[in-house]
């Protein structure tokens, strides 16, 4: 039980090169000086991610309490200036995505895949046992250690089914990286549970086999519709003939649209496909030998991306970049707006006469407009109800703000706000309702405070934040630059108040 104590405070660590990057966080290799040990430190900017304080806290708490060889844990976390530092074991091999990009653009061979996936599955079994849904299973979150250890990482968006003592049968929050996202997560009809991770696991299997996820070249809105309407993707292309039947079966069993028909992680571990899995040593020998340093690899990747951007007129490069941005933003906060989905998807659909190479074999379900309409009806009707299940602290909810001494004026403001919301409804980008499920947390801070009036800003801050990022992502796909939020207001440091 004797545990190594990792020191708290930035002064105990020396930061080295960056080894990973996300939307609001970066990961550095670092030296823990007193222990003389190399670690990884994830640095998260609170100011940029202010809306997600609850998520950040949850992630830090989940990770520090993890104890399983196949799940990345954190040693400790602390605040430095306006950043959160999360100290973790350093995984010298980087993520499977990095390795795919650096050396295996067309995917790994089957034995490697079986080995990696078996370890990932053990990690998932552990998380599911504890009621955690990972919600972001993908090659980019499978990390390889120097000796071939395989760990599932990044709990940025994980959720707990056992939150606050109640078994919450399902979650309804809308998160996930589109390509990896299970249909029921998109639909939000009945909520989802651990089985959503099994779908993502199946998509990850395809990703490891091909070097990229199915639909990865499409914009997110398109992916959404394709996942819902098309037959599930699988290992049924011409070039998949090299793979065994058991691999195809295993993948197909995960990629069933009805979540109740997918196997649990525990059950899936017994699948014959995993019999061929080898040791960590094998992974170290097979994948890591000869690979350049993680930091160098990352640099090379960045250069490559920049080159691609330089020739952005090439549509493929553009798409690649776009989906890469997608990847980086992770599941963090996808918030699909129905109008947006419709608008975007209708623009893209016309291109589909030329099937993408990913599409061979998988049927382009000629679902027609009826189905689509029905689906959208379902989605829109659930947006309104889906905020309800998470509410448990009804007793906290309050009537709208009314200051004892400023009744009329403040109520006025509230009305104004509601009114302006109505106006917004015509603009296909923001309605309040579909924002709430995404942000809803068991604590229900949002709803509660929006009713209390005080934190209405908070909600809207998130609302617009989400949209802003979406817009930014779109911009990013053409210009490639990641735009930081504009200066927020001019500081008045020099100006003192007279009190």
């Amino acid at each position: 039980m004797e545990k190594k104590k990792y020191p708290i405070g930035p002064e105990h660590y020396t930061l080295y090169e960056e080894v990973g990057q996300g939307v609001s966080a970066s990961v550095h290799r670092a030296l823990c000086v007193p222990l003389d040990e190399i670690v990884a430190i994830k640095i998260l900017d609170f100011e940029r991610d202010k809306a997600d304080l609850n998520n950040i806290s949850r992630e830090a708490q989940t990770m520090v309490l993890v104890d399983h060889p196949n799940v990345l844990k954190s040693h400790c976390s602390f605040v430095s200036d306006h950043n959160l530092w999360v100290v973790m074991p350093f995984m010298a091999g980087g993520s499977c995505l990095h390795i795919l990009k650096a050396a295996y653009p067309d995917g790994f061979e089957e034995v490697v895949i079986a080995t990696v996936l078996r370890e990932v599955l053990k990690g998932l079994e552990y998380l599911h046992h504890h009621g955690h849904i990972h919600r972001d299973v993908k090659a980019g979150n499978i990390l390889i250690g120097a000796r071939g250890a395989i760990k599932l990482g990044d709990f940025g968006v994980s959720a707990c089914l056992f939150d606050s003592g109640d078994r919450q049968r399902t979650r309804k929050t809308f998160v996930g990286t589109p390509c990896w996202m299970a249909p029921e997560v998109m639909e939000q009809l009945n909520g989802y549970d651990c089985k959503a991770d099994i779908w993502s696991f199946g998509i990850t299997a395809l990703e490891l086999a091909h070097g990229h996820a199915p639909f990865s070249k499409y914009p997110p809105m398109k992916v959404l519709l394709m996942t819902l309407q098309n037959a599930p993707p699988g290992l049924d292309y011409e070039r998949d003939r090299k793979f065994s039947k058991s691999f195809k079966q295993m993948t197909a069993s995960c990629l069933v649209k009805d979540p109740s028909k997918r196997p649990s992680a525990k059950k899936l571990l017994k699948h014959s496909f995993f019999k061929q899995a080898r040791s960590n040593d094998y992974i170290a020998r097979k994948l890591l030998e000869g690979l350049p340093d993680l930091g160098d690899r990352l640099k090379a990747l960045k250069t490559k991306e920049e080159d691609m951007l330089a020739q952005k007129k090439i549509p493929d490069g553009q798409k690649e970049e776009m989906s890469h941005n997608e990847y980086k933003r992770g599941i963090s906060d996808w918030n699909f707006n129905l109008e947006d989905v419709k608008a975007q998807a209708s623009l893209i659909q016309d291109e589909d006469t030329i099937p993408d190479r990913d599409q061979e074999g998988s049927s382009f379900a000629a679902s027609g407009i009826d189905h689509e309409k029905k689906l959208q009806h379902q989605i829109s009707s659930t947006y309104h109800s889906s905020q309800v299940p998470d509410i448990e602290d009804n007793d906290i909810m309050q009537s709208p703000l009314s200051l004892p001494f400023a009744n009329s004026t403040v109520n006025n403001t509230t009305t104004q706000y509601e009114k302006s919301n109505d106006d917004d409804a015509n603009i296909p980008s923001s309605t309040h309702e579909n924002q709430v499920p995404q942000n809803s947390s068991p604590q229900q801070d949002n709803i509660q405070s929006s009713l209390a009036g005080k934190n209405v800003f908070d909600i809207s801050g998130r609302l617009f934040d989400g949209l802003g990022r979406q817009a930014q992502q779109r911009r990013g796909s053409s210009s490639g630059s990641i735009n930081l939020p504009d200066a927020y207001f001019l500081p008045v440091k020099d100006e003192r108040f007279d009190i």
């Binding site: 309490l65 605040v79 056992f162 003592g165 649990s264 800003f457 927020y488 100006e495 108040f497 007279d498």
Partner: protein, 347 residues
């Protein structure tokens, strides 16, 4: 421990009894051989896991209400909860997590439509002292903290903690250097100060002086963070500010709010926070500052401060924007600007 023969499934009552026996054993820390001890602790871990799966169900089955009720009744019939809390540090991490979830769930289990956990805690209220002081132990904080948050769902238990000496310690706990622990303490602190309205209102009116003095001194610390140590604490004023807004805007606390916004010291602190370099703090500070401006019965000294700083404040608000458009914020801001612009100096 493993039996060759599949024994018939144990009843929930059996499971609780065996758990209690093993906890008694663990608590005694008897002189038995190390290997035997390890076996027993392993067995205890398994039992806790089984209890958890009865209460929460598992991937195959939903929880059965009768089984949950039997388990709960047996659990609180004797002092199992006390033993479990005391022995928690002796368990391994996985068993601690399972135990925490079991305790959390038990707070909500009704037996003949009574929350018997609450009855038990009222008679064993000193257990709260153990749970609260858990924040002082890096290893136990998250487990005890999670249990504590569930226990204060019961109003009587929350009242005990609010009125105890522990309340003062929370101001330190929420600035502990371990982020995960500080965040947990902040969540508990918030729960204590927002969940049971009448109890909170009563607490705040009785403890107004020390409570807000403490609050202000913690907020003040942030306004001159020159040293690095203080910069490290940046998160704390933010969570304190958010909570302050929540507390003051709660209708049941209106008397406290009126008192708060009549204080010149409070106004000074909030105005200084408006000048912070952190935009998150600006926003939260604004949400409290607006209450001073909106007060229709401002005391003269409040009016004179606002008048003296009128042009600076108006200039500040003119540039005061959120990153993205926000109708509510803009409306609030417009109202604050109107209020301040219309102020007449009082003599």
């Amino acid at each position: 421990m493993k039996s060759l023969f599949k024994s018939k499934p144990k009843t929930p009552v059996d499971l609780v009894r065996q758990t209690r026996d093993l906890l008694v054993y663990a608590d005694l820390g008897s002189d038995s051989r190390e290997s035997k001890r390890e076996d027993k602790m392993l067995e205890l871990g398994k039992l806790l896991r089984e209890l958890k799966s009865i209460l929460y169900g598992n991937s195959e089955a939903e929880p059965v209400p009768e089984a949950c009720a039997q388990l709960t009744q047996e659990f609180f019939r004797e002092n199992t909860l006390r033993l479990l809390i005391i022995c928690l540090p002796k368990l391994n991490l996985e068993a601690r997590k399972d135990a925490t979830q079991v305790v959390a769930n038990l707070q909500r289990q009704q037996v003949q439509s009574r929350l018997i956990a609450c009855d038990f805690l009222e008679k064993n209220i000193d257990l709260m002292d153990i749970l609260v002081s858990g924040y002082e132990s890096t290893d136990m904080a998250l487990h005890y903290g999670a249990m504590l948050r569930e226990c204060i769902r019961h109003q009587s238990v929350a009242r005990y903690v609010l009125e105890s000496e522990h309340m003062k310690k929370f101001f330190d706990y929420i600035q502990l250097p371990n982020f995960d622990i500080a965040a947990d303490a902040a969540a508990t602190f918030k729960e204590l100060l927002t969940r049971h309205k009448s109890t909170v209102a009563e607490f705040l009116s009785k403890n107004y002086d020390w409570f807000f003095a403490e609050y202000n001194s913690k907020l003040l610390e942030s306004t001159n963070y020159i040293t690095r140590r203080q910069a490290v604490k940046l998160r704390k004023p933010l969570s304190l500010l958010q909570l302050l807004g929540d507390i003051l805007l709660d209708r049941s606390n209106s008397a406290v709010m009126t008192r708060y916004v009549s204080s010149r010291d409070n106004l000074r602190i909030l105005m200084n926070l408006l000048r912070e370099s952190s935009k998150s703090i600006h926003i939260e500070a604004f949400h409290v500052f607006k209450l001073f401006a909106a007060n229709q019965h401002k005391p003269p000294d409040i009016v004179s401060i606002l008048v003296a700083n009128r042009s600076k404040l108006l200039r500040l608000f003119a540039d005061f924007k959120t990153e993205k458009e926000d109708a509510q914020f803009e409306a609030d801001k417009a109202q604050v600007v109107r209020e301040i612009a219309a102020l007449e100096p009082k003599d």
